[in-house]
């Protein structure tokens, strides 16, 4: 049965599988495809992390010709996919702790190396909390040693699994359960921020890329590129979270696209610490267009609202556009 998949979440500037010539359609368009992350898991409706993980792991599995092992950090992805005695994972998969997925990946890679299994590949994955905060030390160690692991961060910009608290990837101004929308400076503070893709680049590892679930072809291509290389590789995927962001579950892909098209989330690739490619913005949108769809930014709008914070977020997006050359 090779039934073409229906037109799934799309919006401006997207081409659904249905509209593409058959040979250009992603593997996901085929009902015959294997699913690394099987249906039946407990993710929320419209979960960007579930979508991102399925595409990433599927693509990595294909690139590794089925010989792939995954290490997973504690977080939504782990909890919703493995409620004992069930599992959604169709590949060898291990969850150990919140902060050690990168090191567990290192251990697996070391074991494969002694056993002479160069054909089996390793990915480690986690949310932004497990990556940018508690797992940062292990991740940096894995980068520094150039261990043969692809680390994937599914960035939903908060600790969603424990009830939507702030992480060091939470954007300034966003309301979370630990950065409430109260007082003169509501939401997450405007600090220096922690940009993990840039920190990864500073380790001069073979490959660093960012991507979103709005452009799944791009995401798959980046996984393929990463899998064609050996050593430490880092992929940072923006995965909107309807629950944590206070957004409609049908807006996941749209939000991911607006994050990119506003300049808030730059999409790029780097090799050995140098920028090699940038996904240009096709039609620039104001930051507010992206922010308005999310309840976590509701306090910025309305009366009296916080125009100065909106302006600061817009200025940040403008800086990204200049810094990464996002516009022609």
């Amino acid at each position: 049965m090779d039934e073409p998949v229906k037109f799934y979440q799309t919006g401006t500037f997207t081409v659904g599988n249905r509209l593409l010539p058959k040979e250009q359609r992603t593997v996901q368009a085929s009902r015959q495809r294997g699913n690394a992350l099987n249906s039946g898991h407990r993710a929320c409706q419209g979960c960007g992390e579930a979508l991102g993980a399925r595409y990433v792991v599927d693509a990595a599995l294909r690139a590794a010709e089925g010989r792939l092992i995954a290490a997973n950090a504690t977080g939504c992805l782990e909890v919703f996919s493995t409620p004992y005695p069930e599992t959604s994972w169709q590949l060898p998969w291990i969850h150990s702790l919140f902060g050690n997925a990168a090191a567990v990946g290192t251990g697996i890679a070391a074991a494969l190396k002694v056993k002479g299994r160069r054909d089996v590949r390793v990915i480690a994955q986690g949310g932004d909390g497990g990556t940018t905060d508690i797992g940062f030390g292990c991740l940096s160690g894995m980068f520094e040693r150039n261990d043969d692991v692809l680390y994937v961060c599914y960035d939903n910009q908060g600790y969603m699994n424990t009830g939507v608290q702030r992480s060091s990837a939470t954007p300034p101004g966003a309301r979370t359960a630990t950065t409430m929308a109260v007082g003169p400076e509501p939401g997450a503070p405007f600090g220096q921020g922690k940009n993990l893709p840039l920190i990864a680049m500073a380790h001069a590892i073979p490959y660093v890329a960012t991507a979103t679930v709005a452009d799944l072809h791009d995401l798959e291509a980046k996984v393929e590129r990463a899998m064609a290389l050996h050593g430490a590789r880092y992929l940072h995927v923006l995965v909107p979270c309807p629950l944590g962001w206070g957004a409609a579950s049908h807006d996941t892909v749209r939000l991911a696209r607006l994050a990119k098209e506003s300049g808030i989330f730059p999409v790029f690739e780097a090799e050995h610490g140098e920028l090699t490619a940038v996904s240009k913005i096709r039609r620039r949108v104001p930051a507010a267009e992206y922010l308005r769809l999310q309840k976590r930014f509701a306090h910025l709008f309305g009366e009296p609202g916080h125009p100065e914070m909106l302006a600061a977020i817009q200025a940040g997006a403008d800086r990204n556009v200049r810094r990464f050359g996002l516009e022609d």
Binding site: Y84, W93, S96, N100, A103, G107, A110, A111, R145
Partner: protein, 417 residues
């Protein structure tokens, strides 16, 4: 082959003979010489195939061992003190996942105040982590126990900690008999993982388990430790048959025949204790020693059987449960439940305070004479303690204790002078 060798190097060589496939470690005194020794063997190619991963923390060291063990490699690490505490989360995880990692703990005190010397606080802090914990009395035993640890852990699919006293053993140079590779290969088969991350047969390891099965998982861990109670003496016997040495086991008695007062202890202090007991025996006193080789699983039945005929038990502790007393004492009392005999806890040697034979003799004579209190702190300097406690009573904020102690000892000038 007999060698005059440092304890750490002997352990490194014993571990090397076990053919580990992944070794990872982070340096901390007094463990450093062990992993340096192994690092050198990996680097010069004599341990091939083996990966030595220089990690950025103990938490990473245990995590790398977890990944490597789950992927089917024989995995080893070593640590001590703050390092063991820093890796604690992963230590529990390794046993929960049933991964037979072997780890040396070069026992050392835990700060603050920072102190690099030997006591048992570090491994005792991990008492309930689900690992098997074996204690070495001598460097020969430390080396031998590592070979037994891999065998035991891999058979039962659970991790094993081999504890050896920091500096007292790790840095002592003495004669150790190291077996040949062929002998070890005949004793220790290659690691066959119970569950392995293998694309040919995908499994999910480490799923989220709710209230419906969590207790069962914990109980199974306990049941496996109970099996270890049987396997430890069997493996020790097998070891003895092959290598001609009695090494390890659950408990080991010394001059227990007719002993009315028995001292229970773990680790290297057993040597000094035996000397003290010899002196008292010469004076006609019925004293003996019971050494505990396996702290977890705790050999309740063996301890009870060894102590049944005694009238008085003294547990010599090199760790301390603040607010209660001894750590091992509690377990020993459990083993003796229902028996009527006098029990004493003696806390000694914390932070490397020397445990002298003279002090032990004095303590034992007091015990025999019925003059030993329920809890004794051997060779405690009461003047320092009383002065600080008086300060605490006088002013609630008396400043850092360590600083005050140094001042009392005359090692630092009084503040403001």
């Amino acid at each position: 082959m007999l060698k005059q060798i440092e304890g750490s190097r002997a352990v490194a060589q014993a571990v090397a003979l076990a053919r580990p496939e992944v070794i990872c470690a982070y340096p901390i005194s007094p463990q450093t010489h062990i992993v340096e020794g192994l690092g050198e063997l990996v680097k010069d190619g004599s341990l091939s195939p083996c990966e030595f991963v220089n990690v950025e923390s103990e938490f990473a060291a245990m995590s790398v061992a977890i990944g490597a063990s789950a992927a089917g490699a024989r995995s080893y690490t070593a640590t001590a003190s703050q390092g063991l505490l820093f890796m604690a989360e992963a230590v529990y995880n390794a046993s929960g996942l049933g991964l037979p990692i072997v780890m040396t703990v070069a026992n050392r005190a835990i700060g603050a105040p920072i102190n690099i010397w030997n006591d048992h606080s570090d491994s005792m802090s991990q008492r309930d982590c689900g690992w098997i914990q074996l204690f070495a009395e001598t460097n020969q035993e430390a080396a031998d126990l590592h070979l037994q640890a891999f065998k035991l852990g891999e058979e039962l699919s659970m991790p094993v900690m081999v504890c050896m006293d920091g500096f007292i053993l790790t840095h002592a140079v003495e004669r150790v008999d190291l077996p040949t590779q062929a002998e070890v290969d005949a004793f220790l088969p290659p690691y066959e993982p119970r569950q392995v991350l293998d694309p040919a047969e995908p499994v999910s390891i480490g799923a989220m388990v709710g209230p419906e099965a969590f207790m069962e998982v914990r109980y199974i861990a306990h049941a496996k430790q109970t099996m270890a109670l049987e396997r430890i003496p069997q493996i020790a016997a097998e070891f003895q048959a092959r290598f001609g040495r009695d090494s390890g086991g659950l408990v080991r008695g010394y001059r227990l025949d007719g002993a009315k007062t028995v001292v229970v202890a773990l680790g290297s202090v057993l040597g000094t204790l035996k000397d003290a007991v010899d002196v008292l025996r010469d004076d006609g006193m019925a004293v003996g020693v019971l050494g505990i080789g396996s702290f977890r699983p705790f050999p309740l039945a063996a301890v009870r059987a060894a102590l049944e005929g005694a009238e008085r038990v003294v547990v010599l502790e090199k760790s301390f449960s603040v607010g209660l007393g001894g750590v091992v004492s509690t377990d020993v009392r459990l083993a003796l439940s229902g028996l009527v005999l006098h029990g004493h806890t003696v806390v000694a040697g914390l932070g490397g305070r020397a445990i002298t034979q003279a002090s032990l003799e004095r303590m034992l004579r007091d015990a025999v004479a019925g003059k030993l209190g329920p809890i004794t702190f051997l060779d405690l300097d009461w003047r320092i303690v009383e002065r600080q406690l008086a300060r605490e009573a006088a002013v609630r904020r008396s400043g850092p204790i360590a600083e005050n102690l140094l001042r009392d000892l005359g090692a630092a000038a009084p503040r403001g002078s």
